[in-house]
Each structure stands twice: as C-alpha cells, then as structure tokens.
Symmetry: C2
Subunit: 333 residues, 2 copies
C-alpha cells in the first residue's frame, strides 16, 4: 500500500505563524469514488494568502485546525473515475499539502505540459494572471502615468510591475531590503525602487514620484497603503490585490488614516478582485504573458524549494519576505 504524506495544520497560530503549528502524518492513499480523480502532487504553491485563510473566511472558507493544509497544486492524474480525465493528465486544483489527493473532477482543470512546468505556477499561473487582470482591468495604466507596486519583488508584484513598464508607465516598486530593490531596477527594469525598511515611505515617495501616483497595485495594505494613499493623484486607481502586512497576526490593524476622505477628495477608486473573476480575460492573459516572455520583456523569478517537508518553513519565510518571485514546493518530479 502506498502511503500519502500529509501536512496538517495542527493548531491555529495565536500570533505569527511558526512551523510548530504544523505536523506531518501518513495515511493510505485514497480511493477515487464515482466522478472522482486520484492525483499525485508535483508542485505546491505557497502564497501569503495561505496565512489569511487561517484568520477566517476569505474568498474561500476558513482553514480549521486538524485539517490537511490546503494549497494550490499542479498534479498528475494517477487514476480517474471521470470521463474528462485519464491517467497521466496534467491538472491544477486545490490539492493541499500532501503527496496524493482525491478530488471531484469538477475541482480540477486540465493544463497543457510545458517546459519548465513551474511556469504554470508562476507567470502563466494564478500569480501572473492575477497581476495581468488586476493591473489592466482595474488599474488601467496609461503611458507616462506613475504606477507604484508594493511587494514588488514578490510573485504577483514582480509581474505587475513589469506589465506596467510594458504599458509605458513610470514604475516604482516598493520592497524590503536593498538587494531586492537593486534587483527590481537592474534586472526587472523598473524605473525606481523604494526600500520600505528604511522607513518614511511617504517622504521617499514624494521625492521619487514627484508627479504623484496614478495607479497603486497594493499587495500589502497597512502603513505602505497609507503612505501611497496620500500621494495618489486625482482620479487615481488602487488595485487591491492582497494585504500581506495584515495576514500574519491574529489582530489585523485598522485601515489607513484618510480612508475614505482621500478617496472623496481625489476621486480615487479602490477595487478588490481575485483572478477567478476574470474567466473571460484569462485566454488573452496567457497569450500576452507568453508573448512578452518570448520577446524578453517579461522576466520570471521563481523560488522553488524541494520537498513537501519544507512547506511549513517555506510559508513562514514567505510571510517574512525572504522570497524573490514565486515561491513553490517541488513535491515530486
């Protein structure tokens, strides 16, 4: 009998997430019932939102203690009791932190294999498409406008910032630490980068974005949102993508000062979204992203960690900002 290694959320974190909130267990690989599919996990996505799921219901239900930690996965079909899938198919779905999982067929989407497979988790996966849809549908950057992206060295931010450059904007990334900032400018070609760990993001923004900010792609919320909010131009757009500053805590802070007053004064639009809202735009997103990569306009940073056992430490480190680009776990080849 094949055993399935699983990582379970053993207890909810009371403050910051630590690796001892998780435990590993083995259980028999499940048997797919009618309409179900047995899959073997290849790649597991680690996302800051994983931590938010522990705070309560978000765009998905709350994650409770005692359950296998959920997570987005790229997997291979082992056995299928549904006509739409057959053994060997490549699929994506919420397989969770485990080597094998059984899923209803309707919870899986077939993907075409490509090299490297990891691109299906990064630029051509949820994060790349999130950056594309949010920036272009809500942010709508125009040539010459100033676009600011927070967590710009992260999975989604690094793509969003580059797409803004492709669209002709003046792009400033906000990231933690001088190395990331140098990388944003030297490697990804951003116009400027601000290290929020140096403090006083408001004053730095004022100096570096003298024409104000037209589009803010917000991955962080919190004090960075507050600083950017005060520098927004008339008719500015704030793309609310994520709130990583408020995930790793049991007590998310109040919102920035000035909300909603500044929204009125400057006629700002703040809009939240998740990528699943953009079913119709996704084919175009994949096509454009692939084309920009092929043309060398879009660079992809991936941060691949080997072994399911590394998932807890990988997520804790992600929340501390140690990644550059898209972090994922290689569970199997």
């Amino acid at each position: 009998m094949t055993l399935n290694k699983q990582i379970v959320l053993d207890r909810k974190p009371s403050g910051k997430l630590t690796v001892d909130c998780f435990r590993t267990q083995s259980s028999p690989v499940g048997d797919p019932g009618p309409g179900e599919v047995l899959c073997r996990t290849l790649l597991l996505s680690l996302d800051p939102a994983n931590r938010a799921w522990m705070q309560g219901a978000t765009y998905r239900g709350e994650v409770h203690a005692g359950t296998v930690m959920p997570g987005f996965t790229l997997a291979e079909v082992v056995a299928s009791n549904d006509i739409k899938f057959k053994a060997g198919d490549l699929v994506e779905g919420d397989g969770g932190w485990q080597q094998y999982f059984v899923s209803p067929a309707k919870g899986l989407q077939k993907r075409v294999r490509l090299e490297p497979l990891s691109h299906l988790m990064s630029v051509l996966g949820v994060t790349g498409k999130t950056a594309y849809c949010g920036l272009l549908d809500i942010g709508k950057p125009q040539p010459g406008e100033t676009v600011v992206v927070s967590a710009a060295a992260g999975a989604t931010g690094s793509i969003a910032a580059q797409i803004a450059k492709i669209k002709g904007a003046y792009v400033v990334g906000i990231a933690g630490g001088p190395e990331k900032c140098r990388w944003l400018v030297d490697e990804l070609g951003l116009d400027d980068a601000i290290d929020h760990r140096e403090g006083n993001v408001y004053a730095t923004l004022k100096a570096r974005c003298p024409k104000g900010v037209d589009v803010y792609f917000d991955n962080t919320g919190g004090p960075i949102l507050e600083a950017v909010l005060s520098r927004m131009n008339l008719n500015g757009r704030i793309v609310c993508c994520g709130v990583v500053s408020q995930y790793d805590t049991a007590n998310p802070a109040s919102g920035p000062r000035g909300i909603p007053g500044l929204l009125v004064t400057k006629r700002i639009k703040m809009q939240g979204f998740i990528v699943m809202d953009y079913v119709k735009l996704l084919p175009q997103a994949e096509k454009d992203l692939a084309k920009w990569m092929a043309e060398g306009k879009l660079k992809v940073a991936e941060d691949i960690i080997d072994g399911l056992d590394q998932a807890p430490a990988g997520l804790v480190g992600l929340l501390a900002g140690e990644n550059r680009g898209k972090r994922m776990i290689r569970v199997a080849d």
Copy 2:
C-alpha cells in the same frame, strides 16, 4: 456707503468646532473690477464639508484663519463688468459667509429662477445632484438589491435613499435618533431605518439586511463604514460621498478594520467622487430630479435658518446632526 457684513474664521478649532471660532466684521461693499461681478447673497449653503475645509486641502484649498468663511451661495447680481451677467441675474458660486461679494465672472453660473428658490440649494442644487450622480454612476443599484445610506436624514442622504427606492432597491437608512428614523420610513418611504445611537450597527444590519448589502452610499466613514463594510455582498459598491464622522476633529481616526482585506475578499469597489466630476450628467440629473418631485416620488426636506448671524451656530449644529434635510441660511430675500 453700503456696508457688507462678513463672518470670518477667527481661529481654527483645535477640537470640535464652536461658535467662538468665528467673528463678525463689517467692511465696505467691494467694487467689481474688469471681468468681475458684484453679487448680493440670498441663500448660503451649510455643509458638513465646511468643517473639513478647516482640516486641510480637500477638493478645494484649506480655509485659513483670518479669512471670510467660504461657502456655496445663491446670489443676485447687483452690478456686472462682464458681458455674460447683468444686474438682477440669479447666480450660484462660492460667495462665502457675507452679504455681498465680488467674484470673477468665471466663478459664477447663471441659474433660472424657480419657486421656491431654496430648491436650487437642495434637491436641484449640489446636494441633490451629488446624490443622483454618485448613487447612479458608482452605486448602480439594481431592482431588488439592498442599498444602505448613512446620514440618511441629511441633505444628500435623504435624496440618495429616495432615488434608490425609485430604482427598485430595498433601502435602509442609517440616522441618529428615533425621530429621524421614523421620518425616513413614514415620510420618505424607506424600507427600514437604523438608529446608530442605539449602538451595534453591525448586529442590527445583520438582522435588518439579511441578504447583505449591495450598495452603500457612505456619508459618514468611521465606525458606521466599518459596520457596513463587514456586511457587504460580493461585488458590492461603496459610494464614498462624505466622511462626516471625521470632520469635526483635529485628528481624523484611522480607517475601518478590514480595509483593504474585505475589498479583496468580496471584490468590493470603493470610489470617491464629487459632483463637479459629472458635468455631462448634470442636465439629465436636473431633469430626472424635477420629474420625480413632480410625480410625488421624491420628497424634499429643507432646513432654512434666517439671518447670516446664525451661520456659525447653524454649522456647529449641522455637525452635531440636528438637521433634517438640507440646511441653509437665508441671508436676504
């Protein structure tokens, strides 16, 4: 020589606005230069935003101590050095808290006289058009949706709430005190009203809006926004019109908890606006508002106080919520 009575902002309030922040003075009526117009104030609008102007720059410059308090006015032309205006014309513009004012011609708009004149300050003026444009362009209420309006007994809120009813929504007003709440339901025909002074707006909203909230027309910000935010439905729209909870203080509070997290989770749009953004929509707004009034679908509440001297106390009282509908000062007949 005719004297011009003026009310000056003598000093900025350090906390809540009090009448002793103002002083009265008399000065000679000004002489219009080339391209200028001398006007006699008839009606002076009192708006919660008057207090926000003292906090700093908003959609207009900050009001500094020692200057005649600005304010929106309906006035009659006394003498004109511009070809577009002649004595006797009815005009609107920022005449301020004084009996006479001189304005560049381009700062004035001509209005057609109607009875009662006060409608040009309420339903057919800035507040009515603000309600119309914000609710219909940003909120876009659909038949059967739930619309919540805060400061619903106020000038803008009372119109916005009724327009939402006209558009077929289930409309719940939030106001301070049982009399206002009864008035909203019995006189204006709202479906329900919540007295925020009773506390726990969140729980009350949960009970009274069991299907959640699709559109929130926000005049208050602060704790009421926080409560409504948590009850918003997927794809909800928050029309950011005003922030009266944060005007009468030197230290506006931080924003609600959950911003921008809830915006992401529920794909909410928050958008600020001011009525001047909607030049193209205004003719239609005036036409519709007049028609709805004529059909008896839209009731207009006005709160007219006689005498320029009453302006300071009138504004202080407005900030405390003592008005029902549009408060204005009748400066002259």
